[in-house]
Amino acid sequence: MRIRIAHETVYRYDTPATRAIQILRLTPRNHDGQYVVRWRVEVSEDCRVEPREDSFGNLTHTFTVDGPISELSVRVAGEIETQDTHGIVRGTREKFPASFYLRQTDLTTPDKAIADWANEISDGGRRGALDTLHAMQSHIYSNFKFDVEATAPSTTAQQAFANQHGVCQDYAHIFCSAARYLKIPARYVGGYFLRGDGVVHTESGHAWTEAFLPDLGWIAFDPANGICATEAHVRVATGLDYLGAAPVRGTRYGGLGEAMDVKVSVDQASRQSQQ
């Protein structure tokens, strides 16, 4: 399937900012079942954009802009050719052995509630790992309330689990937290998802997870959709949690009254573009 993506973030300031710096993790790479046909990164201001690879193997772009900045836009767009691999992830750049992904972070550290849940689903370790991961995925999908207002990027797995709500990012944190607790390496994935309901325009990308099993390798689980990753998923960045794979980490100096506007469109390339 060929997927066309455009992702634009516009920042506006009532009082112009004097300086801005951003690190973008917004560029997908090739691996089995994913081929980047074309991809562009555009920053509205005149600046040098430094491409680099981070320690997880993600492509990053770093730029600094001198003010006064009253408006700044960052746009990435391109086309990706995908194939269904039944959730199996191969041909990725691996910088660490899988066991590294047993590390918990501030966002994923489990509490007793998550540990109890993980033990229950795995039947105290008697259930097979693959089965357990599928059950965790379905449980989150079926029982958690999707609520974009309820959580923020700094929400931890513990908080989201306690309230049984959140967004794809929170689901991914809970999944990673429980999997790692059960000694299954797991990581956070940021990317895009072509929705099945025909909705093309949204206000954010997507997030899911990958878990490692010795005989299968990395397998992508998407608790927000209750499925393993398909040809509708475009994988962009991975990390131990959201912070490691965040699409944008940046800051600005000065500049009051920031308004941020995010537009993401994910569509089949064969369909008539609406932009």
Partner: protein, 476 residues
């Protein structure tokens, strides 16, 4: 401690009461100088310390935010032979620390060789994934190390702890010497004491030597502090002054196009080397803690581009925690092919079930420490603790054994110390500072001697009521 016996090694007096050669003149002086003169000098020393404002803050002590570290006016003396052996051992140890760090963040040959377990690196909370595969200028990670050593007999030095992150205390070493020179100039006539005053010059030379290859001409060095609320702020400003470099906070610097600049009255100036006294977690909110206000956004990008040197490097914590400590003799052999010159205290790793069993069975005889604790916090001294404390601590160890190690109580050496009851032996340790540059390793003779002021106490940490002494290495 109840088990106190005459078996402690006293650095001044042999068991038969005779005075060891290095202390001959000092012992004579102590015998002849009237006690009220000593008393008067001690008060004078305290007065000077108060006036120059050298204080430290005690964490977890709300009542007093700043406190004076007690200074003992009787110097501790090492002869040249002792120092030469010690400094060779220190240099070897720091070389191994640097080799280990480079390997742990790159090829990880030591894992393949099966010398240390994988969890020691990947499972370590202070392992920084961001440093994986990252080249640091000249492959030097630890430019400034503080290695805590103790003596138990005339021949052996034991390393108690490696400090490879942001070791502090060097300002006390320098201040103590300055005060001794002022109060007791006559003693320096009789004793050929090796100078420590050149520490700042050595530090600056070290920092300049590790500047990135892209820096031009004379590299610009700055000292980065978390600010005035940090417990070591006094030391930061003191050292910046001695180094003749700018004392900066994160907000005084900014990143532009993969270069780091500081704001000056004459416009932005490129920074080449940061002697940073800010922890990893806080140095760049775009890479580490996003809520940190102490760092410079984008600093890690400049670092990755090879355009700034951080001293020490990011991620050095994996080399100095108490879990890796027990592997240090093997680490030295693996990288250097040498036998360790300095000894390691026998260490039980609670992460290993049979060792945990031994620790729990003998906890009343052992010192149990948190792997990531420091400053004497989160530690149990079995022989000195009551039953209730021991039981509570044992429960903590059982709940999370990975977080603890245990060691036998060491018979730390004693030095004569001026206390309420007069001159009496008190237990001491020593923190020498080891500087590693591209050109060479520099160690000023001596270091910071810390002394446990209460009788029988083995805890020398300033946060636990320890004091300091001037440390003399005799040039003969």
């Amino acid at each position: 401690m109840s088990s106190r016996t005459p078996s402690f090694f006293d650095e001044m007096r042999a068991p038969d009461g005779s005075v060891r050669p290095a202390y001959q003149q000092l012992a004579h002086w102590l015998d002849t100088v009237p006690k009220d003169v000593l008393d008067y000098r001690r008060k004078e020393a305290e007065f000077i310390f108060r006036r120059i404002g050298i204080t430290f803050a005690v964490y977890g002590d709300a009542a007093s935010t700043e406190r004076l570290i007690p200074f003992d006016i009787i110097p501790r003396i090492l002869n040249r032979g002792e120092w030469q052996k010690l400094s060779r051992g220190l240099e070897q140890r720091v070389k191994a620390l640097n080799a280990y760090l480079h390997d742990a963040y790159n090829k990880r040959e030591i894992l393949r060789a099966g010398i240390v377990p994988e969890e020691l690196i990947f499972g370590n909370p202070v392992f920084r994934p961001e440093m994986n595969g990252q080249q640091v200028p000249h492959n030097i990670y630890v430019m400034i190390a503080g290695i805590d050593v103790v003596r138990v007999d005339p021949d052996n030095f034991y390393v108690l702890e490696d400090n490879a992150r942001v070791p502090s205390g060097v300002s006390y070493m320098l201040e103590n010497r300055e005060i001794m020179l002022r109060l007791f100039p006559e003693l320096f006539i009789d004793h050929p004491v090796a100078p420590v005053e050149n520490y700042a010059d050595d530090l600056l030379a070290t920092l300049k030597s590790v500047a990135p290859l892209t820096s031009s001409g004379d590299p610009t060095v700055v000292l980065m502090t978390p600010g005035i609320y940090n417990s070591a702020y006094y030391e930061h400003s003191f050292l910046a002054d001695k180094l003749g470099c700018e004392l900066v906070e994160g907000r005084d610097m900014f990143v532009k196009g993969d270069m780091l600049y500081m704001r000056t009255t004459e416009g932005p100036k490129r920074v080449d080397v940061i002697y940073r006294r800010v922890d990893d977690d806080f140095i760049d909110p775009l890479v580490f803690r996003p809520d940190s206000m102490l760092g410079v956004p984008g600093l890690m990008s400049v670092y990755q581009a090879g355009n700034v040197t951080l001293a020490n490097a990011v991620g050095t914590g994996i080399a100095d925690d108490k879990a890796v400590y027990s592997y240090m003799p093997d680490i030295i052999k693996f990288y250097l092919g040498e036998e360790p010159i300095l000894k390691n205290v026998e260490t039980y790793r609670c992460r290993e079930p049979d060792q945990l069993k031994y620790v729990l069975e003998n906890i009343d005889k052992l010192v149990v420490k948190e792997v990531h604790g420091s400053g004497g916090y989160g530690m149990l001294i079995g022989p000195a603790a009551d039953k209730k404390t021991i039981e509570a601590f044992a429960a903590k160890v059982k709940a999370a054994p990975d977080g603890f190690i245990a060691q036998p109580t060491l018979a730390l050496s004693t030095c004569p110390t001026f206390v309420e009851e007069g001159i009496a032996p008190r237990h001491v340790d020593l923190r020498p500072f080891v500087l590693t540059g591209r050109d060479k390793v520099r160690i000023v003779p001596g270091g910071l001697t810390r002394v446990a002021l209460s009788k029988g106490s083995l805890v020398v940490n300033s946060s636990q009521g320890g004091g300091t002494k001037d440390t003399w290495v005799l040039d003969r």
